[in-house]
């Protein structure tokens, strides 16, 4: 058994980068001032905040005044959808999204439907891909907002967001394009201006930053109604004392995780291929959910073992210090099957028997070697008396 845990659930959350942890500790200890305070400690915190904003803006190639700090992906998505819809309803009440979005997109949209907005939910294909032209056909003069996730958190599909944005803008230049980039930021190249993205959500704990911190990019000129009433922080869009240590740690984590992207992606690819080939050699009956190679990210592998149960595989692997997730961590505490796997047409047995293996740049080749030999073995043991 591996002495250290082999953490392969990086799409749920990632461990913090040691440098980021150190930075955050220092800030928590020394820079505890409130950025709104007028004394030196306040000014110090304010400077940290503004340099973090600058750093993050540079990563995205946007102006620092277009970055707003939030408590994470869920708040960023809520702010983008509810904030924009409620402020721009005079131009129309139609919203557009897909069936495989994260609950932090789908649930606010459900609330907006109750408030009188119409929402269209598009079907992806078997690989989870959306067709830009089909999407654009659904856009009307009344469509104020389209929300599409860049990388799907369960199956790893990469949406062609630049094509999608372009197709939408051709049909209605006024339509605002929101991208949930929680899974992709720092892992894939992102430049909102070039790709035609107006609003973009990110979350620090998905790229080795701390939990409880995120950001929303809002292109200058877009009007948003705040979700919280209170102080004037973040230009009045997000009341509440800023989480300065968390924000600085997020900015640092963003920089660190974006470094050597090519090498990291290449390594991830090797990991995924290694895992896949050793599973498929031993168990040709296993089924990949979502895209096989090119259309998917290399750090997510969603695979079903029909006849077995995802949760039981998960616990059996846990015994060997390997940590994976069932279909998706967000579903794994509910009795419902994954809405993403359902939307791409997975059958009942595949839904029940799905696990998700997700890598990060902090995984080592030894860990993957170990897991790739252990997983097929555990599956064989389970299969012997479960199906």
């Amino acid at each position: 058994m591996m002495a250290r845990e082999v953490y392969l659930d990086n799409s749920s959350t990632t461990p913090m980068h040691p440098e980021v942890l150190k930075e955050m500790q220092t800030l928590l200890e020394r820079k505890y001032g409130n950025p709104s305070s007028l004394h030196r400690l306040g000014n110090d915190a304010e400077r940290t905040l503004s340099s973090s904003r600058q750093l993050l803006a540079e990563q995205l190639g946007v102006k620092s005044g277009e970055i707003y700090f939030t408590s994470g992906g869920t708040e960023s998505n809520n702010m983008a959808l509810a904030g924009i819809a409620r402020r721009n309803y005079r131009r129309g009440k139609h919203l557009l999204t897909s069936k495989i979005e994260h609950p932090s997109v789908l649930e606010p949209l459900k609330k907006l439907e109750v408030e009188g907005f119409q929402v269209t939910y598009l079907e992806p294909d078997r690989n989870g891909l959306l067709d830009p032209f089909q999407l654009a056909e659904t856009v009307t003069p009344k469509t104020i907002l389209v929300s599409v996730m860049h990388v799907n958190n369960e199956i790893g599909t990469i949406q062609p967001i630049a094509e999608i944005a372009a197709a939408i803008k051709r049909k209605n230049p006024q339509t605002i394009v929101h991208v949930d980039a929680v899974q992709s930021f720092t892992r894939l190249p992102l430049s909102p201006r070039e790709q035609g993205i107006d609003v973009l959500s990110i979350s620090a704990h998905k790229f080795h930053g701390p939990k409880g911190t995120g950001a929303l990019y809002i292109r200058g000129g877009i009007l948003v109604e705040p979700l919280l009433a209170g102080g004037e922080q973040e230009k009045g869009l997000r009341a509440g004392t800023e989480n300065t240590p968390g924000i600085a740690a997020m900015a640092l984590a963003a920089r660190l995780n974006s470094e050597n992207r090519k090498e990291k992606t290449a390594q991830s690819k090797i990991f995924k291929e290694k895992m896949l080939s050793s599973i498929e050699t031993a168990h040709p009956w296993a089924q990949i959910n979502g895209p096989r190679k090119a259309e998917g990210v290399p750090n997510i592998l969603n695979i079903s073992f029909p006849g077995l149960k995802g949760e039981i595989i998960l616990h059996a692997l846990e015994e060997h210090n390997i940590f994976v997730s069932t279909g998706s961590a967000c579903h794994s505490r509910k009795n419902k099957p994954s809405h993403v796997l359902e939307a791409i047409g997975a059958e009942k047995a595949a839904l029940d028997g799905a696990i998700r293996i997700s890598f990060s740049s902090m995984n080592t080749p030894e860990e993957i070697e170990y897991a790739a030999s252990k997983i097929p073995q555990v599956i064989s043991e389970l299969k012997a008396f479960m199906s």
Binding site: K309, I312, H315, N335
Partner: protein, 392 residues
């Protein structure tokens, strides 16, 4: 300091056992109030009195509502045995609860017969005094909106304006000890609650199948026991590893008998555990005909392997009634957590509804049941569950 007056029910009827019952209840009351110090519990002829800091009174009342044996709990005020004082305090209590146009009634119980007025006389005197206050109120002896009770006792007069119902039942511990077969489902916690209600001191037995069932499933069992422990503290939870037994049954026995065979093994282990823990009875959450493993034949097949009586408090309950009760005792939200447990691990598509005992015994011969069950029993891990603040 504020004062709570506690009335108890059924135990007042018991003859020579009465002091035993009352002592148990006294102890259970003290136990449930742990952490709310400084408080004092005194017993005086048919009543318990609790004096406790007034900021803790709501918390105390909430906890006492889960102590079996208690019929009702009232906030009380004590005054001396002086009619003038009683009248003044009664008026004050009414003013505290006053709504214009309301009706009220005074109800007196005089256990101290040396007091110079009879109960009806006190009722009318106090009632008249209140009416003279000129407030917009009237007397209604049948359906009063406010019932003022006056208890004339040796140490003084106690006045209460409202009472909260207790859970009834018998003090936990007066009827011996039982082992509850706890699953992750809705039924067994309710069955356990009903056992506690009739004065049984409970220990729970939970079978799990590591590594296939995770910590989530065990935490669920712990949390369910915490709920039960708020009614019967402390409560021991025994975690029994079932993996090997389950594997052997799965691999070697007919699939249709699997569930019944598993239950028989569980009951045999429970029966042996009960002897070790000096328990005299087993409890399960079975209800007749609810699922295919709960037919008469299947119940008989489990009875056959246990030497102790198996009580099934939910036998005549519909699922809806069980759900209702589970919501009331707040086990519902825990029971509905979706973790796989050892009973959902492998469910055969068509379990046998009428297996014969001979058929089952035949199936059991092919596996080394005795050793497997002994190893299951020997590897039980026991946790002491406290209702508030974790386990130890």
């Amino acid at each position: 300091m504020a004062l709570l007056l506690i009335r108890y029910g059924e135990i007042a009827l018991k003859g020579k056992n009465r002091p035993f019952f009352e002592k148990k209840l006294h102890k259970n009351i003290r136990n449930t109030l742990k952490g709310l110090e400084p408080f004092q519990v005194t017993f005086e002829k048919g009543r318990y009195f609790i004096s406790i800091p007034s900021e803790k009174i709501s918390q105390a009342q909430e906890r006492l509502q889960k102590v079996f044996g208690i019929i009702s709990i009232s906030r009380a005020v004590r005054v001396s045995l002086d009619l003038q004082e009683i009248c003044a305090e009664a008026l004050q209590l009414l003013k505290d609860n006053y709504k214009p146009g309301m009706s009220f009634k005074v109800n007196t119980r005089r256990s101290n017969k040396s007091f110079h007025l009879t109960s009806p006389k006190i009722n009318s005197t106090v009632g008249a005094y209140i009416l003279e206050s000129g407030l917009d109120i009237q007397v209604d002896v049948h359906n009063p909106q406010l019932l003022l009770t006056v208890e004339i006792r040796n140490k003084g007069a106690y006045l209460c304006a409202a009472e909260a119902a207790g859970p009834g039942g018998l003090p936990v511990g007066v009827n011996g000890k039982g082992i509850l077969l706890l699953s992750g489902g809705l039924d067994s916690p309710v069955a356990g609650w009903m056992a506690l209600k009739r004065g049984i001191e409970l220990e729970a037995l939970y079978f799990h199948s590591p590594p296939f069932t995770g910590e989530g499933a065990v935490n669920k069992a712990v949390d369910l026991c915490k709920v039960l422990a708020t009614y019967g503290d402390p409560l021991y939870l025994h975690l029994a590893p079932f993996t090997e037994l389950q594997k052997q049954i799965r691999l070697n026995c007919p699939e249709s008998l699997m569930i019944t065979l598993m239950r028989r093994s569980m009951l045999r282990v429970a029966d042996k555990l009960a002897y070790q823990r000096k328990a005299g009875v087993l409890f399960t959450g079975e209800s007749l005909g609810q699922v295919s493993s709960q037919t008469l034949e299947n119940l008989a097949a489990t009875n056959e392997v246990a030497s102790l009586p198996i009580l099934r408090p939910l036998i005549g309950f519909d699922k809806e009634e069980i759900i209702d009760r589970a919501r009331k005792i707040e086990s519902y939200d825990i029971s509905t957590r979706p973790f796989e447990d050892c009973c959902t691990l492998f469910v055969p598509p068509h379990p046998a509804t009428r297996p014969s005992i001979a058929e089952l015994q035949e199936a059991e011969k092919v596996i080394p049941l005795k050793e497997l069950e002994e190893s299951c029993l020997g590897n039980i891990e026991t946790i002491k569950i406290l209702p508030r603040g974790g386990e130890r």
